[in-house]
């Protein structure tokens, strides 16, 4: 009797979902007819006719919208992967400082995590851009041409980064690192205290014990949390538009303004983000499986 009831409710819910979806599709079609644009992607091949400050591949305004979108994606990927790397390193350092024995480091890292986690990312990006970079003098840091930091951005060993890119990766990395630090800390405190005593009593140094005993056991608890932080980072990178960095979202926005192709643009954005995040998830799952296989049976 009870099973029948559950099936009945499930059917009702599915019907409601179909209705909702149909309603949305209907709205879409009505609007497409009203704007007289139709639904197609042929406009992708027309010239974009807007300039982009940052492009990893050659780009000029006479290139197509499709090419502009690709440039946008490359700009986004650049930000996502650099921030992913930096936030992980920073997160590990801060997470370890918070679990370690050094009282000063503990206080500093707790303070860092609290401040960063309790304030909006948008605000932090604005801060790094307007206060952090645009507020700098022309010659803020100039270390014999090896490292230059000023209101134009960062120049390091001939590699020059714009102030928008620099502010974005610093903002995203700092923000994400605070969350990663908590994930790391959670993983480490999930390892029983006896394991610490055990490696210490064997004369292993703290560093050695951490690497060989604690972290291998903490990883299965860390990886899932880390994955969701990486996914957040990828999605948060679209806030680039706020400080004028031409990432995929900003370029999409420009294209929508120019062509009115909001639906197609959003579909492109949606699908490409979906693919990217599925890739990240799969990669992390592979890593997780590898770790669990290595430590099988516990």
């Amino acid at each position: 009797m009870k099973g029948d009831k559950i099936i009945f409710f499930q059917i009702i819910i599915i019907l409601l979902l179909i209705c909702l979806f149909g309603f949305l599709i209907n709205n879409l079609i009505i609007n497409l007819i009203r704007t007289d644009l139709g639904f197609n992607f042929s406009w992708l091949l027309k010239p974009a006719s807007f300039a982009l400050a940052e492009h990893a591949l050659p780009y000029s305004p006479s290139d197509s919208y499709a090419w502009a979108l690709l440039i946008g994606w490359l700009n986004s990927l650049k930000v996502i992967f650099v921030s992913l790397f930096l936030s992980t390193i920073l997160g590990i350092i801060i997470g370890l400082s918070r679990t370690g024995n050094n009282v000063l480091l503990k206080i500093i890292s707790s303070f860092y995590i609290t401040i960063i986690r309790q304030t909006p990312l948008l605000l932090q990006l604005m801060f790094w851009y307007f206060v952090g970079f645009l507020g700098l003098k022309n010659n803020f840091i100039n270390f014999t041409n090896l490292l230059k930091i000023n209101n134009q951005g960062i120049e390091f060993l001939g590699l020059s980064l714009t102030s928008e890119f620099s502010a974005l990766i610093i903002g995203l990395s700092v923000f994400t690192s605070a969350f990663i630090a908590e994930v790391i800390r959670g993983g480490i405190i999930s390892v029983p205290k006896g394991q610490w005593e055990s490696f210490r009593s064997l004369g292993l140094s703290e560093r050695n014990g951490l690497i060989r005993v604690i972290i291998p056991q903490a990883l299965p608890a860390i990886i899932p949390g880390l994955t969701s932080q990486y996914l957040n980072l990828a999605k948060n990178s679209t806030l680039a538009i706020a400080i004028g960095y031409s990432d995929i979202y900003a370029i999409n926005d420009t294209i929508i303004n120019q062509t009115g192709r909001a639906i197609e643009c959003f579909i492109i954005l949606l699908l490409t983000f979906l693919i990217l995040n599925l890739l990240i998830t799969n990669l992390m799952e592979t890593i997780n499986k590898f770790i669990n296989k290595k430590n099988f049976l516990y």
Partner: protein, 247 residues
């Protein structure tokens, strides 16, 4: 005769003013076995754990193998002690992600920087001694409690320690598994290993120990030979404890 452990008037208080250790002194000579007994919460675990720096203390001095430590936690000295003193825990604390042999070779490889061949050869020798060499490639979770504890003893022996500390080594074992661990410990004592053992195993204490140290609420109530302690304990408190154990 060489003195391995010399503890002079050590005290430790918890934040609420409770004394975990209250002016404890003791001495253990080379090749001797000291058994520490006492009701739970009497400070016996705390005491044994100060010997290798797993637990700090507030006053007094400890001399282990000629290395002196006091209330200032001197990490370098404690590290020196740990390289020469082995410890076995109630919960075995084997590394679950490492095979049995890797558990044993971890410290020789990373602390003593021995070669892998050398470390594994000695590891296999120790497992043989413990009667569990057939489990070398398995993981801790595949072994019974008694087997795991014997691995833990082998792991403690891998650094060729001059002193072994046992913190209630049989308390987490099924009753029928206790003897296989005690037998190994008996053999170690016969071979002349200096040992400090926190335990409730009366028979082991009677047969193996050279001295019994009885503690209650952080204080040493009495130190006697096992003959005297079990037949004619000096203190009322000790006799009461023994009566309760018998029941």
């Amino acid at each position: 005769m060489n003195t391995i452990i010399k503890v002079k008037n050590i005290s430790k208080s918890y934040s609420r003013g409770l004394l975990a250790l209250d002016n404890v002194s003791l001495k253990v000579n080379q090749g001797k076995v000291l058994v520490i007994m006492g009701p739970s919460g009497s400070g016996k675990s705390t005491l044994i754990r100060t010997f290798n720096g797993l637990e700090t203390f507030d006053a007094g001095e400890i001399d282990i193998l000629g290395i002196k430590i006091n209330s200032n936690y001197d990490e370098r000295r404690i590290q020196k002690i740990r390289k020469r003193v082995g410890m076995v825990f109630q919960q075995f604390n084997l590394f679950p992600h490492l095979s049995i042999l890797d558990n044993i070779t971890l410290a020789p490889l990373n602390v003593q920087k021995r070669t892998r061949i050398d470390a594994e050869e000695f590891g296999m020798y120790l497992l043989n001694q413990m009667g569990i060499s057939m489990h070398a490639g398995k993981y801790p979770s595949q072994l019974s409690g008694g087997e795991q504890q014997r691995v833990a003893i082998a792991r403690a022996l891998a650094l060729k320690p001059e002193l072994l500390l046992f913190d209630e080594p049989t308390s987490a074992l099924d009753p029928e598994r206790i003897n296989e661990v005690l037998d190994v410990m008996r053999k170690l004592a016969q071979d002349g290993m200096t040992m400090v053992v926190v335990t409730h195993e009366i028979n082991f204490a009677k047969d193996v120990s050279d001295q019994i140290l009885f503690m209650d609420s952080g204080k040493v109530i009495e130190t006697s030979t096992p003959d005297i302690f079990f037949s004619n304990a000096k203190h009322e408190r000790s006799r009461k404890f023994l009566n309760q154990l018998d029941k």
